[in-house]
């Protein structure tokens, strides 16, 4: 089967023939239908996020179950599924605390580039290939842990459902779980890519007002407004993102700011644009070596909450069907998120266009 392999950082993905083992007892073989092109994959390709290589990337996907291991009970061949890149174990400290987004075992899988139990199911002529986030869905087929497949209604188009594997759940959860935005709360969103647009539409669904969207690409204005932004700040025209938010929130600052880029300047700005005792949620994934700085006196005197959100602090087995239900009833827009689709052979073009910032979400269709 064909897959996109990253051999080393700062190289293009190679479309090559690879082999896939049969699934282990608690694993599932999924035939991929669609996979989203996410910034996290790009960070790995740039060497900003260190993972074991060579690997098959891709962590936002949906497909159809082909084969299941002997001990798998949750899904069966023919089921339509979305992949979750946090295959939480269900029994570690964090899972028991109701925070599967912080699951120790899932984190170890991410670091080791294998499946649970150090299993490696991907191979090419040169030897084994590492798994990526337990998903590796830039491939025609993949083997994933049974904790990483979420069955969904087969009526939902898989090329829409795929996005719920990362971008939608991350943005939706940041608003609904991490921030718990309520009606009339003011919200600012820095970055209007695949995740940012979902922060915007979840904020709208929560009743937020105003919703101030910001992006360095002025062309994102239309898309941001379509998803519910009430105001748009073109970050290419000023590097002071704070003043426009202060001006649009009666001089106070936003109740909630979401940073969805992962840059020093924008993380610092997100904290700065929040009102006293408001909350800044950092969703953007910065390289692990990056530091930011904040005014120390403001911590006690302004009592803002500065936090992050990883995979939207979601419980995928609950949130993915919940989000897809909202989509089916017309309350969440997945149709306009995908602005471009590509075949696997053109995956490097998809990443090129992602970095140009011209697309909402690009998707690989198999």
């Amino acid at each position: 089967m064909q897959a996109a392999v990253l051999v080393d950082a700062n190289e293009a993905l190679q479309i090559v023939d690879v082999n896939l083992d049969k699934p282990g007892p608690k694993e599932v073989l999924v035939k991929m239908a669609a996979a989203g092109v996410c910034h996290s994959d790009w960070h790995v390709m740039q060497g900003d996020l260190p993972v074991p290589l060579p690997a098959i990337l891709g962590h936002e996907g949906a497909g159809i179950v082909q084969e299941v291991g002997a001990e798998v009970v949750g899904v069966k061949p023919g089921d339509h599924v979305v992949l979750s890149w946090i295959p939480s174990c269900g029994h570690c400290f964090y899972c028991l605390k109701g925070r599967p987004d912080m699951c120790d075992e899932a984190f170890n899988i991410q670091l080791s580039g294998s499946l649970p139990g150090h299993a490696m199911r991907l191979h090419w002529a040169q030897g084994p290939l590492y798994h990526y986030l337990g998903t590796s869905c830039f491939a025609e087929n993949t083997v994933v842990p049974d904790t990483g497949v979420i069955p969904i209604d087969a009526a939902i188009p898989l090329n829409k459902a795929a996005l719920v594997g990362c971008a939608v759940t991350t943005g939706f959860g940041a608003v609904v779980h991490s921030a718990q935005v309520g009606p009339g709360d003011s919200v600012s969103v820095i970055g209007c890519g695949g995740v940012g647009l979902n922060v915007i539409q979840a904020a709208k669904l929560a009743g937020a007002d105003p919703i101030i969207a910001m992006d360095a690409n002025g062309k994102k204005r239309g898309l941001a407004e379509k998803f519910g932004a009430t105001d748009f700040v073109d970050a290419a025209e000023t590097d002071d993102l704070i003043t426009p938010v202060i001006d649009l929130t009666k001089g106070r600052g936003a109740d909630f700011a979401f940073e969805v880029i992962g840059r020093k300047e924008t993380i610092e700005a997100a904290y700065g644009m929040v009102r006293k005792a408001g909350m800044a949620v950092i969703v953007g994934v910065a390289p692990p070596h990056m530091d930011v700085s904040f005014n120390a006196f403001s911590f006690p005197s302004q009592s803002k909450i500065l936090t992050g959100s990883w995979y939207g602090q979601s419980i995928p087995r609950l949130d993915i069907p919940r989000i897809l239900g909202l989509y089916q009833r017309g309350k969440l827009n997945l149709d306009d998120l995908v602005t471009q689709s590509y075949s696997l052979e053109h995956i490097n073009d998809a990443f090129h266009e992602l970095t140009e910032g011209t697309v909402g979400r690009g998707i690989i269709e198999f």
Binding site: D239, G253, G272, N295
Partner: protein, 136 residues
């Protein structure tokens, strides 16, 4: 739109302001405090140095000079030039701007902050200079 399209444009305004305020009470206090204050701006990038310590050639209380790199100063305020404009035009709540990180201060901040009450006449001069130049 950024307030100033080039460093030159901002520098011309500030030079004229400096000419008008170099003998003002605010400048006198700067001299009495023997303070050298730098404003480090981004977009456009340049540094404004207000020096109340070095003797001036015309006997005024202070000099204002412009630089590319940060010279020796007792205190520096770093911000975007847009935020710098807010400061000079009197539209900035300075403690809030520091808390929000819009302005990053380094050095003898307490000494410099003591001068804040003397600033409003400077704001007026700055706004008049801009108005005269048709910049408002």
């Amino acid at each position: 739109m950024a307030t100033y399209q080039s460093a030159e444009e901002f520098i011309e305004v500030l030079s004229e302001v400096a000419d008008q305020v170099k003998n003002s009470p605010a400048a006198k206090s700067l001299q009495e405090a023997s303070l050298v204050v730098a404003f480090v701006y981004r977009h456009p990038d340049f540094v404004v140095l207000m020096d109340g310590r070095s003797p001036t050639h015309d006997g005024s209380y202070m000099s204002m000079t412009f630089h590319q790199d940060l010279p020796e100063a007792d205190v520096s305020f770093e911000s975007s030039a847009d935020v710098g404009h807010q400061f000079w035009s009197g539209h900035m709540d300075i403690p809030n701007a520091l808390a929000r990180g819009q302005v990053k201060a380094k050095g003898a901040i307490t000494k410099a902050l003591k001068l804040i009450p003397l600033l409003p006449p400077l704001y007026d001069v700055y706004n008049q200079v801009r108005q005269k130049r048709g910049l408002n």
